[in-house]
Symmetry: C2
Subunit: 102 residues, 2 copies
């Protein structure tokens, strides 16, 4: 199933980031039409190195069309707008289509 | 289940990258002890923007201990060493622990 993946850089204040993500951003994302699943991972570095990222959010949809519709929705616009309220450290997003098992 | 996630920057020559990944790198990664699944996604940008990354590889394990063991294994060392043969455009890796459903 296609995923919208958002990687958040390490914030200056992780407690404030977590609180905003939980109390404000997640409720917005939850309004995405046809959102099937939302997975959050606090990521860690490999081999003792610090991770470039703090949080990975994966929003799962049934189809690429559903994903595009979510991005174009009112919730999609509100979610993008909300980034400026808590993701000033930087954010990277991309779409992972249906993965192929290797 | 914990995942080792590797993001590859856009290569100069995608055909050469794909061939090396398929014929050389995947067989090395397949030797990771206790590897449960390997998922490959050719990623795309959001909203018409180009993606910062070309390929996302997700290596899935039953436990954090298994993941660490794979990294420390002969295959883990060979995999890291092989990066210089095809991933000169850059690579970012991190560990996503068991995700929490939001």
């Amino acid at each position: 199933m296609p995923r919208l993946i958002v990687l958040y850089n390490n914030p200056e204040d992780t407690d404030a980031f977590d609180a905003h993500y939980r109390d404000t951003h997640t409720p917005i994302v939850s309004r995405y039409p046809n959102l099937r699943d939302m997975r959050l991972s606090k990521v860690a570095g490999v081999g003792g190195r610090e991770s470039a990222f703090y949080l990975m959010a994966e929003m799962v949809f049934d189809s690429a069309a559903d994903l595009d519709e979510a991005l174009m929705s009112e919730a999609g616009a509100a979610s993008a707008k909300d980034l400026r309220n808590f993701a000033g450290a930087g954010v990277t997003m991309f779409v992972a289509p249906d993965e192929a098992d290797a």
